[in-house]
């Protein structure tokens, strides 16, 4: 059976060149980067070269890049670390309603610890209004954290404008760029970003490794204490093979950014067009243009998301959904809810996230198998029938 992987926002396969770059650091060059001998020095060299490679992608100095276990840890460090170190200045944090759970749950934790959190609303496309950010800034605001490209819809926030507002008010600005890093041009100077979170496995790198950029001079407490690794900001023996993999992935992504953008744009545009011609009552969630080219979030009226995932899975196609069933929650996606998408349509949403190895044949295969699936499920649906009668 043909297999088509369209869940690159969840994770990606490791690029062969990335794996190749990593392997020596599990074998001959296995040293601990803190050791003084040659084994250690080899590891240390790889670590510092990797830092340089990651810094280059975002126009930062290598001394401002710290390696972590992934996007979630980086988000936790940005939120909690800044909150802890700046509590004498204030205890107010501004974020948005459509953040990744790593940010939202960190905010929830901080709220319990006595911090005050404002969750900015979004419009029907999922965009934060810079004017609304400005209105919500207070004297005791210490941190603004806004996601770059959304993981569910791909919608891209006006980061440069938001960063400018943060800068004008002397407030730290963090952005969760897990879905954007290496795929969309990022410049921490131009965008006024003080911290940003990176994950390797969204970028054809290995799982369990990521990075955080922290602008020089930012007051931040560390969360993991121990040895003097990562200049005492994040203790623990560095995952050198993983870090080398992240750096290689970043390097490849950076080099291929423009061609990949065009590749993904061709695939998703064609997919959406063909799908809309073949299936009635489909709706795109998120901004049609201000979005990451690889992600399409589509609602199929009258059909629940998980039942589409199961049916596509039986045809070898892997996708994700914002329905309550798949999130394990009792409510549909918080992102689609914040966009005020009708709850039934939010339950009917499917995220197709394309990647570098997808082809136009993949597009045609999914467009070929999907209409029958939707038709079958709609014929069983009590709400699709009733909506047609109206």
């Amino acid at each position: 059976m043909k297999r088509v992987y369209l869940d690159h926002s969840a994770t990606t396969p490791v690029h062969p060149e990335v794996l190749e770059a990593m392997l020596p650091y599990y074998k001959d060059k296995f040293g601990n980067a803190s050791s003084i001998h040659q084994f250690g020095r080899d590891a240390k060299d790889a670590l510092e070269q990797s830092r340089e490679a990651v810094a280059k992608v975002i126009n930062a100095a290598s001394s401002e890049v710290y390696f972590t276990s992934g996007g979630t840890e980086s988000d936790n460090l940005a939120l909690k670390g800044t909150a802890l170190a700046n509590k004498n200045k204030g205890k107010h944090i501004i974020t948005s309603q459509i953040e990744h759970h790593a940010v939202l749950e960190s905010c929830k934790f901080l709220k319990k610890e006595g911090y005050d959190v404002t969750y900015l609303p979004v419009d029907k496309y999922g965009l934060v209004d810079p004017g609304v950010l400005r209105e919500n800034i207070r004297k005791d605001t210490i941190l603004i954290s806004i996601i770059h490209a959304n993981n569910e819809t791909g919608t891209i926030q006006p980061i440069e404008e938001l960063g400018k507002i943060a800068r004008e008010n002397g407030i730290y600005f963090h952005s969760d760029t897990v879905q954007a890093f290496g795929k969309i041009p990022l410049d921490v100077q131009k965008m006024g970003i003080d911290m940003l979170s990176v994950s390797a496995h969204k970028l054809y790198g290995p799982k369990g490794v990521g990075a955080i950029y922290i602008r020089k001079g930012t007051r931040i407490s560390s969360l993991v204490h121990g040895g003097h690794h990562e200049r005492a900001r994040r203790a623990g023996t560095e995952n050198v093979p993983g870090i080398v993999g992240l750096a290689k992935a970043a390097e490849i992504a950076s080099k291929d950014m423009e061609t990949q953008h065009q590749h993904l744009k061709n695939l998703t545009e064609s997919f959406l067009k063909k799908l809309s011609e073949k299936i009635p009552d489909v709706f795109l969630n998120g901004h049609p243009e201000k979005k990451f080219a690889g992600t399409l979030n589509i609602s199929f009226k009258g059909v629940e998301g998980e039942s589409i995932i199961l049916s596509l899975d039986m045809k070898g196609v892997a996708v994700a959904s914002g329905s309550a069933c798949t999130s394990g929650a009792l409510e549909p996606s918080h992102v689609l809810s914040a966009m005020r998408i009708d709850p039934a349509l939010a339950q009917s949403s499917i995220r197709f996230s394309f990647g570098r190895e997808n082809t136009m044949e993949d597009v045609d295969y999914v467009v070929e198998v999907l209409p029958a699936i939707i038709q079958r499920l709609r014929s069983m649906s009590p709400i699709y029938a009733s909506s047609k009668k109206e």
Binding site: E306, S307, L310, C325, E331, S381
Partner: protein
């Protein structure tokens, strides 16, 4: 999370999908916020359920439990049908994932509503 072979069978080849023309009882349950909506139709003759059909908007478990209950109730007396519980349905499917036991196991509730609906009409005509 993974479903049993029986759940996948009922999801892939659901039994008794559709509506009954002039049903004797209809049970509707669920709402779009939680993600599952089920409509169950029953036909009753001499105190027995002679036919049952369903329409469901929901996940794999919701569709499989709907399909399974239409098989379980056929030719049962109303008293017997009333004893069918959420657990009966889940057991008949060789179990459901833990997170689905509550949110997507609505078929028994829809059945009880359909029987209630039938009895309400009986009282009116009596």
């Amino acid at each position: 999370m993974s479903y049993t072979a029986k759940v996948m069978d009922h999801f892939t080849n659901p039994r008794n999908v559709g509506e009954i023309d002039k049903p004797d009882g209809v049970g509707e349950i669920g709402n779009p916020v939680c993600g599952d909506i089920m409509k169950l139709y029953i036909k009753v003759k001499d105190g027995r359920i002679v036919d049952a059909k369903f329409k469901t908007f929901g996940c794999g478990a919701a569709i499989a439990t709907s399909s399974m209950i239409t098989e379980l109730v056929k030719n049962k007396t109303l008293d017997e049908a009333e004893k069918i519980s959420r657990k009966t349905v889940a057991d008949a499917l060789d179990g459901l994932p833990a997170n689905k036991m509550h949110c997507s196991n609505l078929a028994a509730d829809a059945l009880h509503k359909a029987i209630e609906d039938y009895k309400k009409h009986q009282n009116k005509t009596a």
